[in-house]
């Protein structure tokens, strides 16, 4: 990590961020498997864009810091749209497979595990994330701006 660059976060904060970001997929009862999100998706229907964006905006600050590092080198005006469409299409692809009780947490875990199993990985400040984790973090940052 280049500690000299403007706006760079400290290594310690970054580590905290990694732990928080990883919580997206499996630690995070607070975020995905908790009551708030379950309220919206428990009928197994496809979630709306607005619903998803709402929750992404409310991800922890540490996650957004990871996201900032992730998108720092990305160019393009439609970054938000690109990230979201990518995320949303993959997310919703998995929601119409007939689950009666849709569990966002499990579903995200599944996608992330699948990424890792197929070595779909992304480097953020030298740390290895799954593609889905990276996009979640990136979106959390972009949407919160």
């Amino acid at each position: 990590m280049n500690m000299e660059k403007k706006g760079a976060i400290s290594r310690r904060k970054f580590l905290v961020g990694i732990i928080a970001a990883s919580g997206l997929s499996f630690l995070g009862g607070n975020i995905y498997s908790g009551k708030r999100i379950g309220r919206f998706f428990s009928d197994g229907l496809k979630p709306s864009e607005a619903e998803i964006k709402h929750y992404l905006k409310n991800l922890p600050e540490a996650t957004k810091k990871i996201g900032r590092e992730y998108i720092q080198n990305k160019q393009g005006e439609d970054l938000e749209e690109e990230l979201f469409n990518d995320f949303y299409s993959r997310f919703t692809k998995n929601t119409i497979s007939g689950f009666k009780h849709f569990n966002v947490n499990e579903m995200l875990m599944g996608i992330i595990q699948d990424d890792y199993r197929h070595n779909r990985i992304v480097y953020i400040n030298n740390w290895v994330f799954s593609q889905m984790e990276a996009r979640l973090c990136g979106l959390a940052f972009v949407l919160s701006k």
Binding site: F26, Q113, Y116, W127
Partner: protein
Amino acid sequence: MIIDGNKKEMPNTVYDVLIAGAGAAGITLAMNLGKDGFKVALVESGDFEVNMDVQNLYDGTVSGNLPLEDRYLTSSRWRFFGGSTNFWAGWCRPFDALDFKEREWVPNSGWPIQKHELEPEYRESEKLVEINPFPQLDENQYFFGKDDNKSLGLRAPYFQWSPPTRFGDKYRNNIIDAENIHLYKNSNIIDFGAHPNKKALKSAEIKSNDGEVFNISAKYFILACGGIENARIMLAAKSEYPQGIGNERDVVGRYFMEHPHINETGSLLIWELMEFKSYGDWIDFRRLRRENNVRSSRVLSISEPVQEREKLLNISVELRPIMELKDIKDTGSKEFIENLARHSSGFIVNKKLFHIPHHSKLVIRAEQVPEKSNRVTLSDEKDALGIPKVHLHNYVSTEQLDNYKKSLELMASSLGSRRQGRIEIEVHHDSALEGGYHHIGTTRMGNDASTSVVDENCKVHELDNLYIAGSSVFPTSGFANPTLTLVALSLRLAKHLKTKL
């Protein structure tokens, strides 16, 4: 019996076996042959304590990227009774079965023997280096738990730590008390005399550290002076063999390997400490420690089937905890923390005592591809005895570093998919490479005399009675430290010689 090469009283004896070098290999061979009554001359350059004038006979030059400094040649090995075991750390582990096999993705790989053929000698070697028997497990079956991890191939092989056994101290009396073993100290082999047909050696020409020259005759000769010095002696022995002894095909000194170490490889965050109970049950790790007082530690590696699938070199990744006490909640267990810091392996952390994720630095210790161009040659400069100094060239390619990185990515994916942790990877092409001070491959074993120096019995192809012992005969390096395997091969060589004598 001790004979000082600096004195002028030499016995007029024809020995059954002359062994050059009293390190782990030489002492093992001398003890083993000696106890069966064979007359052995054990020829050692040094004395019982280090002497820097003698140590500096190792002086030479280096090029490439591992090592980077000339002093590597004088600081990575020791030239007195006991050899480099006088300073070794004691890491022991047998090579993996795959290390012995020919792998089409590793140029010049493949041993003429397979691991199972060495198992009896591995068991004997474990006793000599004072560790417990390695369980006969297929470690590839022991992934971190679940089947879904098999495709990524994470495994956690372990090392045992010898006390470490100082062969020069531990086995000194076995050598000097034996009537049929003559230890020639302060004595350096500088050349050989051959029988008229040149197919067999007759005698070794010795020069003492005081400059006295004499000959020792024997039926069989063994070079056990280490991976650099074995080649140097062979290349320098030109009076009967103009190309150097056993070097008609210009192979002696080639295919040098180290164990590349990369200390700043990245780091690992683990928060699910590997389902600790089952992990402990898996290897009976702690019971092993308690019962026999042998330390063990684990590394991360990639399973053999996945190495094969992904065309990977065999690497290990050591975890060195990054532990700042202020980050650790007061558990009232200072002793445990100190123990952790001392014994390093992150896996022995009981997660109940720590409520923070465990953060470790990663240290790669890797296999190096055997390449013909990495080699020991003789320079124009000469040492104090008039023997040409060595030049060592060894280069670890960027392709190999990329290959190591691929293994790390698989480990990262494996831990990620298991929801156990994350890995930070910082392998760059300008990574500072260090070595394990392991000198491997310069007189490699093989069936083809055009690409190897010794056969499966460690006999030099071109001669009937010259053998080589030590890691210089390894055709590939694996990631395991070489001592256990070189002791095992020495025992195997002793067994072979007994059938000839």
